[in-house]
Amino acid sequence: MLPISLRIPREVKAQLQKIARRFGTNPSTLGADYVTEGVRTTLHPSIEFRQTPAGRMAYVRGVRLAVWLVVETVEDCGGDVERAAKLLRLPQLLLKAALVYAKAFPEEIAADRDAGHRPIEELDALVPNHSFLRV
């Protein structure tokens, strides 16, 4: 990581501090995240970042679909992009744009996938009123 210096309006700084407190982080880290995401979404305009309980996560822009779920769906379909796009009702180009992002940032997507594959036994400890149904 390299340091840079930025000048931002006073009110933006105050809002950044407020959001950082809410997310349990500090303004510098959050600011760096925002800059990183801004650079990435400029280079990959089909991607947006969302705040989730599992941290900031890359999503396909305009739909409620995390990039890691796109990757999994394509794998489930044996690499058949057309079939995966049909299942997800996504334009093929948008799906491919998500795959391009996943290829560019494999470690980030792998971490998201790990979160998506947490042992289901953990759900009992995380979610009230939880039950399993084996089918």
């Binding site: 599992a54 779920l69 759900l123 939880h130 039950s131 149904l133």
Partner: protein, 112 residues
Amino acid sequence: MPADLVEALLHLRSDIDVEHVATWQEGAYLNAADDVLLEACWQDKRALVSKDRATLPGWIALRVAAGKDHGGVLLYDVERFKAHQIGALAKASIAAVEFSRGKLINRWITLH
């Protein structure tokens, strides 16, 4: 959930009120944040079908911590159900509805 699941569910149980987020309320929630969608589902007393165990447990925990109810969650195991196994997923979802006797409010059922 896969869009084709709606059709498969209605094929098995035409009396079930099921909608894909892309069409529910004219697609108003297609791009909504999960917490917003959960609130909308609760307002409509509607359970959410999802396979996202990365973020959904956290969203539900936050709702519970805020003293809010939810409309119910049917989560399917991504290792058990591949994206194209629509028929198996539809049958499992019906089994969950019958298992819960349609009472899914504040319940989370994991299908595996």
